[in-house]
Symmetry: D2
Subunit: 354 residues, 4 copies
Amino acid sequence: MAGNSFGTIFKLTTFGESHGAAIGGIIDGCPAGLSLNFEAINLEMQRRKPGQSAIVTQRKEADEVKFLSGIFEGKTTGTPIGFTIENTDQKSKDYSHIKDIYRPSHADFTYDKKYGVRDYRGGGRSSARETACRVVAGAIAKQLLSEIKINAFVSSVGEIFIDKPYQDLDFSKTENNVVRCPDETSAAKMESLIREMRKNGDTVGGTITCVLQNIPVGLGEPVFDKLHAELGKAMLSINAVKGFEYGSGFCGAKMKGSDHNDIFNPDGTTKSNLSGGIQGGISNGMDIYFRVAFKPVATIMQKQDTIDSAGNKAIAEGKGRHDPCVVPRAVPIVEAMAALVIADFYLLNKISRH
Amino acid sequence: MAGNSFGTIFKLTTFGESHGAAIGGIIDGCPAGLSLNFEAINLEMQRRKPGQSAIVTQRKEADEVKFLSGIFEGKTTGTPIGFTIENTDQKSKDYSHIKDIYRPSHADFTYDKKYGVRDYRGGGRSSARETACRVVAGAIAKQLLSEIKINAFVSSVGEIFIDKPYQDLDFSKTENNVVRCPDETSAAKMESLIREMRKNGDTVGGTITCVLQNIPVGLGEPVFDKLHAELGKAMLSINAVKGFEYGSGFCGAKMKGSDHNDIFNPDGTTKSNLSGGIQGGISNGMDIYFRVAFKPVATIMQKQDTIDSAGNKAIAEGKGRHDPCVVPRAVPIVEAMAALVIADFYLLNKISRH
Amino acid sequence: MAGNSFGTIFKLTTFGESHGAAIGGIIDGCPAGLSLNFEAINLEMQRRKPGQSAIVTQRKEADEVKFLSGIFEGKTTGTPIGFTIENTDQKSKDYSHIKDIYRPSHADFTYDKKYGVRDYRGGGRSSARETACRVVAGAIAKQLLSEIKINAFVSSVGEIFIDKPYQDLDFSKTENNVVRCPDETSAAKMESLIREMRKNGDTVGGTITCVLQNIPVGLGEPVFDKLHAELGKAMLSINAVKGFEYGSGFCGAKMKGSDHNDIFNPDGTTKSNLSGGIQGGISNGMDIYFRVAFKPVATIMQKQDTIDSAGNKAIAEGKGRHDPCVVPRAVPIVEAMAALVIADFYLLNKISRH
Amino acid sequence: MAGNSFGTIFKLTTFGESHGAAIGGIIDGCPAGLSLNFEAINLEMQRRKPGQSAIVTQRKEADEVKFLSGIFEGKTTGTPIGFTIENTDQKSKDYSHIKDIYRPSHADFTYDKKYGVRDYRGGGRSSARETACRVVAGAIAKQLLSEIKINAFVSSVGEIFIDKPYQDLDFSKTENNVVRCPDETSAAKMESLIREMRKNGDTVGGTITCVLQNIPVGLGEPVFDKLHAELGKAMLSINAVKGFEYGSGFCGAKMKGSDHNDIFNPDGTTKSNLSGGIQGGISNGMDIYFRVAFKPVATIMQKQDTIDSAGNKAIAEGKGRHDPCVVPRAVPIVEAMAALVIADFYLLNKISRH
């Protein structure tokens, strides 16, 4: 597949650039008969969109989804669900100054070299704008998996980390602050750091932790489509992601087997959960938890030396509206991608046994 | 797809369990006319196989590949390449004692729950035995990409880390020691630790770093099949992998944009390379480097409390032949998976432009 | 895939029902840098749409395509091309009388049984309305394959057949009459028959012949994706199609090998062409010609006994606007599907050889 | 996909040429827990193989399947089923005389042009030898669909046709004669014609009719993967097939809607069945019946003028062992492909509804 579809059964195909007329997608494979809660879908869209607070980008989008098919009298029909989201506030004029310039650590250079043509307005297809479509599909996937709890939150910004295990956090507090960090002390420090970055025209990275609970046993399709491998691909496909780890992650690499193994309880649950809820690439019913690393956004408000498409020296200076830290806005995207992966494996698992 | 195929164009489908008659695979989509060097393929197989040294598992396999089709007079014909590898030394009797037991942190429990039937001999399909097939396909992919240099090595075992950047390492030294670490000082310490684990019947984890050089610009298919997302999925699908990061990775999450951005040189290369050779999900020509985290193998030679399939208490004790540390053996597997990913994107990129 | 995508590289995914807000699709994998001729695309749309003449359905649709992405300054960017087409004249009230009725030989019964929910307005997703999206994508595929000539025409309606081989026909005359038959004598008879059907509130079937010329050698991916097998699947996926044959077709089944074999000329062309331009599932450079059989449309303006969803007796009577013969309107759809198949194989063939 | 896989969930990938060491395949997606009857699988293999009677090719193959994985204690494990079949009687020396010759209406020319390299021994990958692998997979699919009845038979050879509707035939008689025609009168005439062809060193074509009964309602994935479209692709992918029609087929194209529509009975069955058991691309529970047209095999025992790869004149004369009529041997292949298609849709249909 040429990269614009995600999923095997529950499949999302998207289109759209940051400065085109609209973005949108088609969700195929959603089982028929699912009653959709459109307010819940809108809520997810609102969580993602820019202009929500003073710490994120000031671009204003209505971000209203128009469903064009696949839904009749409020229920999915089993036919593909097509949807569009208008780009209403793209301000093309903000980007004319970068027409031939390759901004450092952006996709300008690579898209130009790969395709030989580049929509220079904003990030074009490489912009995070397309993630709005993922959130729509993820919202529907979440409703298919009504029993499953998906909670993502910001676990670090720059060098500020939550210092508690996730089990000590109250997920209901995640939406209470603009950083989406359920630990209030850390949240305050993070917000402070982000405002400082904004003032300096700089950006900073961070990490998101996601916890999936009440997952049925048996999800995952070894050997290549292991559950954690698909989750990893899903998260790594989000803009600015540099790393993924689940369960004990990179720390587990330092450990000994005698310390790392999760011992079974009689009922099949485990006493510890360094496995992160996945063994042999298949869910075992325990919490699935993973962490996603985001680099600092490449668009900074400081001048940078760079080149243009002819190789001449140029200056890159960010204008327009940008995020000092994308991590809070990526929280609903991480949840959406997790929902898409789980939905696909949930359906595939129904046909595993004769 | 139900998990046993990898790739879109250059596609590998595998079969086989650790204790079945044979394992094997089919490579589809390899362009016709490629002259194959069978010695080179065998060399990769030898690198991976057990019984090579005193620090790894003592299971002896000839690991001889039999090519059954798709090759005529030494060249690929464009038709699918089928191959088998016999399992000659599986010692089924070593596993009869675990027939109904769920070994901690193994795939016994999840496979049983998902499929309702479980080949209890060894790890069955969940065993790392199937990775031998990946190495065969990866060896052929490497020959397709003759200009590209793929070098993986062990960068840490337990808490012992190489303390140099990869640019200061001599990759030709990787095969000089059983740990596959090109830094001799670290290699000696790692070997020591592994022997200690072997003596204690314990296991330890580690990490592998992989560097891809001389990569053409333009490989990767955004937005979902970004190059680093596919590399991540490829690595995460290898047994025991818990994490993947590329470029600045999790460290980049702590950085500021002004420090993180890679400034362009006039010729299109970059002064720094925190991007890890990939921008917007597409290769930019700079070195691609990534790190893969392996947990300690779950099969330890110490007694562990566990349960059987009826929920009764049981004891799991490893017998048979096991690895105190799989990381050295995984080096050729990491290279093979990298080669498969690059081969697929290399072919896809040929049809990106009109 | 769950049925709403067509193609491997040049891939079309569609959505939309006859009476939803809009229909549309996403074209993925179209190489970057192709200059699009939008008038040509519109022309194809006009050829397909209803309300063009007195012999076809009177439903009026502007059938205006809105391209939303993937095109910049008139050229394809290599990113997915999203498009929508509004349904402006669906007259939902025409279908309220069939809410629970299963119309004979329609998809009402099967969709209801499969999905448990049915959009009863018109044919919903089963309506031929979605073929408009195929024509959009086919029009773009045609422009990618600018050297290739694709000509379809009506070769029979009811028992009226063209009695000349296609080589004696002038394809430029196909659009000169409403039946899209390039043989004027046959066209007149066909038109007469269709008007009679319209008067009686009945429908009649027919066949379309399609000729592809100037096809490069080498298109097709044996053994399962043979060129004629994909063409067959493409045509059979069009509404009302009951049969497909290529080259000598069903007549060839009566022949002897000594009469059927195509002897080679020194330059690689063949003296005869019963092969229909395809040997071993791969194009050999000669004309590819095939015939597609269309059953009479099931919606007739006569009363028919039927049942409702509870199994009670009911009467089905067509109201609304219907076609006495869909075959003329299907000509651009057949061409569009042929273009999609050829485009996909054209791109795949570029990576067949090392 | 590059043509060597068939199916989405129940997926077969094959490899192997007529004169390579072996042929084989991997069946992925077969649900776990299915008890396999190996004798039944062997029986299907025996039905297909050459050397069974005086009217078919004299090549002798043991055609013994070796299952290498995916089956444990007689049941499928849900892991991929790998299998090989040795080529034991290929007589490579029979083909050395055609090393550079393009035999008329064979795949020699097209494979050489597409791949630039050609395994000239026999038909290589284009030979019907690979269909043995389809029969293995189809035999397993049949066992998954134990309630469904799949019966194919020869309905015509040359100009000799069965003149009864299939409902008047006794399928149990199909295996009673070498032609696999359940109508004894027609069978005798067909056998006579084939013997005559053999004597003359000529070949003749024919058709196979296949009837699927006891099919559940709801199989098929519109709009592109309609049940009849997938069946058509499946049949057209078999060697020598030139046409496919289902239900009323090409005859339906001559009919009027008032005569063609199938009226419902109160219980959902239909009084007539010109629909061929499929409406809107989805099965409606009635018999699915279709007809497949086979051209006469291109390998005849008469001299033919042809060219070699340099364009020089040459003579093609069939040596080795050939079939005067492949149609009887194709009967189990048609059944196998039907089983594969139905199995795939059967599994997909399980996840259509919430």
